[in-house]
């Protein structure tokens, strides 16, 4: 089944089940993303891909990476509201990640005029992590190894990424995460830098 929708005024025909992000890409409209990677299940947590949609006369903001296309949908990917939202999200992400991020996040920050130091003074007691917990490394790891060496631990602000000690050797040889990390936490040449703490160290409070 094919549906017709409008993205930034352009008429787009897309297969049912496609997301707004995929449909936009088809017609050359780039929507920025951080936690999205082609070939991995959309995760929908960075919210940078937020776009405005008009549905039944109501305008709402949705994550383009997850929202399935619908007949007659009117999508706006670029508006003052959306741009401001992306700017603040980047600034919020940098509150704990710090200004020292590189890669895709740094590029997006300059594109949207985000001041990555904006909220840092409020969290000056927290060491910058250079990580926005987008989960790409974790998901990439599961897919590459069928058996993840890293995973999430903790809830809320205590959420972080840990390595399972028995898989450390596996981790040393793979390094797939460095290809997907949008912030440079997993460094393009060395992989995770510094290495992820082990799950035991985090539980014991050593890391």
């Amino acid at each position: 089944m094919v549906v017709t929708l409008k993205i930034d005024g352009k008429e787009v025909r897309a297969k049912e089940g496609m997301t707004i992000l995929e449909a936009a890409k088809k017609v050359g409209i780039e929507i920025p993303t951080l936690c999205y990677h082609e070939g991995l299940e959309p995760y929908g947590v960075c919210r940078i891909c937020s776009v405005e949609i008009e549905r039944k006369g109501k305008v709402q903001v949705v994550a383009a990476c997850c929202y399935p296309v619908e007949e007659g949908l009117n999508v706006v990917t670029n508006s003052p509201r959306i741009n401001k939202l992306r700017k603040v999200i980047l600034e919020l992400a940098a509150a704990s990640a710090g200004e020292g991020v590189s890669g895709k996040m740094r590029a997006l920050a300059s594109e949207y005029g985000a001041n990555l130091s904006r909220f840092r003074p409020l969290l000056s007691d927290i060491e910058p992590t250079r990580c926005i917990l987008c989960g790409l490394c974790v998901r990439r790891c599961v897919e590459a190894n069928w058996d993840a060496a890293i995973g999430f631990i903790g809830r809320g602000v205590n959420r972080r990424i840990v390595i399972f000690p028995e898989k450390e050797t596996l981790c040393l040889t793979c390094r797939y995460c460095r290809d997907v990390c949008p912030t440079g936490r997993a460094c393009p040449s060395y992989g995770p830098n510094p290495p992820f703490p082990t799950v035991d160290d985090v539980i014991a409070g050593r890391a």
């Binding site: 959309p42 929908g44 947590v45 960075c46 919210r47 937020s50 903001v61 949705v62 994550a63 997850c66 929202y67 399935p68 509201r81 939202l85 603040v88 999200i89 919020l92 992400a93 509150a95 704990s96 909220f119 409020l122 969290l123 926005i132 917990l133 999430f152 903790g154 809830r155 809320g156 602000v157 205590n158 959420r159």
Partner: protein, 642 residues
């Protein structure tokens, strides 16, 4: 099982069971409905119950007086409490030593005056439940049977007409007719969002994929709210009956009851209910001989507030960490293991049997045009009568708080009411005449939520209240998406800074900016609604924020860093009480010597303020502290000391 019926094989069997229960009950001279739900147990109900039982046994009255262990009877601050039938005589704040008096009074046919509820203002005592203003203005439908049934007895439930709706649904209605009836009733989800239940059911029924699931959401984690717990503790079969009817209508063969770990009594009673229903053939294979089969599993939550969010709850049932996922494709279509799953709140399910039995028309006539039926609120905070109240939708906040709640406790002034749990907004006095329903509360920037209602008086600081709820939600956010995790973290830092007197003018704009992003872009409703308390506090109590930021003053005198304690030398009786109790030795003075506080040493714990018998300790905010009365003449109140 009490009588001739071992298994319900037809609707007529239900009538037979009901008849047997009624016959048994008429043998007793009196029936005591004794609340053993969590609230009353916390007040010491177990001990009272034991004494009552002993007393009855001692006097050999086991065949005369029968005790039912019931669920919540409402007005929880009056616990432990009971009702005596016939007469529906309500007793409050019962102590173990009252047991003998109660039993004597039943035998002698009189009333124990001292245990009756007395009106705080007029001193009038109420001899029956329905005269008490707290109950007079309520419409108790879901909670109606709480007093009449032992929560652990399926026979009691059947005796009040239980499982008749199920029989009607299975034998007289098609699944489509049931959905049509629920749609017509205009029942909206009681969990907070108010989504039309009938439409949700239809979506799940029509969604491709088998098997389909039905789920009861009893993972209520709001501070100060316990409606869902009370429904399950008091009348678990009503929830179960609703669930089975829903399963039949939707075409589900399996259901889950998700109860949070912190509700052990609710879990226990639900498990008993399911077991009894299985024994009677009301759950399991070939229910009542209708050919319809249905299995229920109780799933205990692992203690995360966010697991009450539907997609997080389903993820938890799948055995994963309870975190929400994007649900642009509704869980009704793709839920547990990507199968169509219909999740409803506990109260929604419990309402279903009423609608099926009495008809959609009856239900629509209760409440308002947009929100029909009743809603259970847990009315807590600074009101005289706290407890569970069930009222028709559309009642005004003023009636709820002042007529049912009996007004603000301690003669203080009303300041705000927070509806809908920790992510609900604060509603100020000028909107007290707003009718309570889904749409009206949303218009005010708050929400219905699942029915929490916290009343605040003039001693509450609205900046501090906003800070409290942001901190609560910060602790409960799963941390998956950036706007919620980082937004709450930054908001919390800013709000704490303001409460500490370090706020700056730009903070308000920053708060608004972050709030907008959280509301628009968060992954689930936790993040999207988390800013309601902050935004409504800003909207309705903006002055207080300005006073905190500009004048470094907390008008309600709550924010620790913005207040000082001061002993009024004209009131101080030099009694030494505060001086001895002060944990840091900040209070100076002596016998017959006016006390004063050394501000540098004071940690503002408030001990002196609370224990002073003469109201001599004052809280000051934003004003200079008068100098200590050093050199002041020693005093002995009443006569000057030379």
């Amino acid at each position: 099982m009490l009588g001739s019926i071992k298994r319900v094989n037809s609707p007529e069997d239900l009538d037979k069971i009901a008849q047997e229960v009624k016959e048994r009950e008429t043998q007793y001279k009196a029936i005591i409905s004794f609340c053993t739900s969590t609230g009353c147990v916390a007040c010491g109900a177990k001990k009272v119950l034991e004494e009552l039982r002993n007393e009855i046994k001692k006097r050999g009255l086991e065949k005369e007086i029968y005790i039912k262990e019931t669920g919540c009877l409402g007005m929880c601050e009056g616990g432990p409490r009971l009702l005596i039938y016939p007469g529906e005589i309500p007793y409050f704040r019962i102590k173990p030593e009252d047991a003998s008096e109660i039993v004597s009074s039943i035998v002698e046919g009189r009333v124990v005056e001292k245990l009756l509820y007395r009106d705080g203002a007029t001193g009038e005592a109420y001899r029956t439940l329905h005269e008490i203003p707290f109950y007079k203005y309520q419409l108790r439908l879901l909670l109606a049977n709480n007093a009449k049934i032992d929560a652990r007895s399926i026979e009691d439930y059947i005796a009040v007409g239980g499982y008749k709706a199920l029989a009607k649904a299975l034998f007289q209605m098609t699944p489509e007719e049931i959905i049509e009836e629920v749609k017509k009733s205009n029942l909206r989800g009681r969990g907070g969002a108010g989504f039309p239940t009938g439409i949700k059911w239809e979506t799940t029924r029509n969604a491709p994929g088998e098997p389909k699931y039905v789920i009861v959401n009893c993972d209520q984690g709001d501070p100060g709210a316990y409606m869902d717990r009370a429904v399950v503790e008091g009348n678990p079969h009503s929830v179960l009956e609703g669930l089975i009817i829903g399963a039949y209508a939707i075409g589900a063969k399996e259901g889950f009851v998700y109860i949070r770990e912190e509700y052990p009594l609710a879990t226990e009673r639900m498990l008993i209910a399911i077991k009894q229903a299985e024994e009677y053939g009301l759950v399991g294979e070939n229910i009542m001989g209708s050919g319809f089969s249905f299995k229920v599993t109780v799933y205990r939550g692992a203690g995360a507030f966010v697991s009450g969010e539907s997609s997080a709850l389903m993820t938890a049932i799948e055995g994963k960490v309870g975190e929400p996922r994007p649900k642009y494709i509704h869980t009704a279509v793709k839920g547990i293991w990507d199968k169509p799953s219909c999740l409803n709140n506990t109260k929604t399910w419990a309402t279903i049997p009423l609608i099926i039995l009495n008809g959609a028309e009856w239900f629509r006539n209760i409440g308002t045009e947009g929100s029909s039926g009743t809603m259970i609120f847990s009315l807590v905070g600074k009101v005289n009568n706290t407890g569970l109240v069930e009222v028709p939708m559309g009642i005004t906040l003023r009636d709820l708080i002042f007529k049912i709640g009996g007004g603000i406790s301690g003669g203080k002034k009303f300041k705000a009411v927070q509806t809908g749990g920790p992510s609900g907004g604060f509603i100020p006095e000028q909107y007290l005449d707003t009718p309570v329903d889904f749409d009206e509360l949303t218009k005010l920037g708050s929400m219905m939520g699942s029915g929490g209602m916290v009343v605040m008086d003039e001693d509450s600081c609205m900046v501090d209240a906003a800070r409290y709820f942001v901190d609560f939600l910060l602790g409960e956010s799963c941390g998956k998406c950036i706007p919620c995790r980082e937004g709450l973290r930054v908001l919390s830092r800013i709000l704490n800074r303001i409460c500490e007197g370090q706020g700056v003018e730009e903070d308000i704009q920053t708060i608004e900016e972050i709030s907008e992003v959280m509301r628009d872009a968060s992954l689930c409703a936790l993040g999207r609604t988390a800013v309601n308390p902050v935004l409504t506090s800003l909207r309705y109590f903006g002055d207080e924020w300005i006073q905190h930021i500009r004048e470094k003053r907390c008008p309600a005198k709550v924010c620790k860093n913005l207040i000082s304690y001061y002993i009024d030398p004209n009131e101080c009786q030099a009694c030494l009480l505060c001086l001895r109790e002060c944990p840091t030795g900040a209070i100076k003075g002596d016998k017959d010597q006016i006390h004063w506080i050394e501000q540098e040493k004071c940690i503002k714990c408030g001990t002196c303020y609370q224990i002073c018998r003469f109201n001599a300790v004052k809280k000051l905010s934003g004003e200079p502290i008068p100098p200590p009365p050093i050199g002041m003449k020693p005093i002995r109140r009443g006569k000057e000391v030379r």
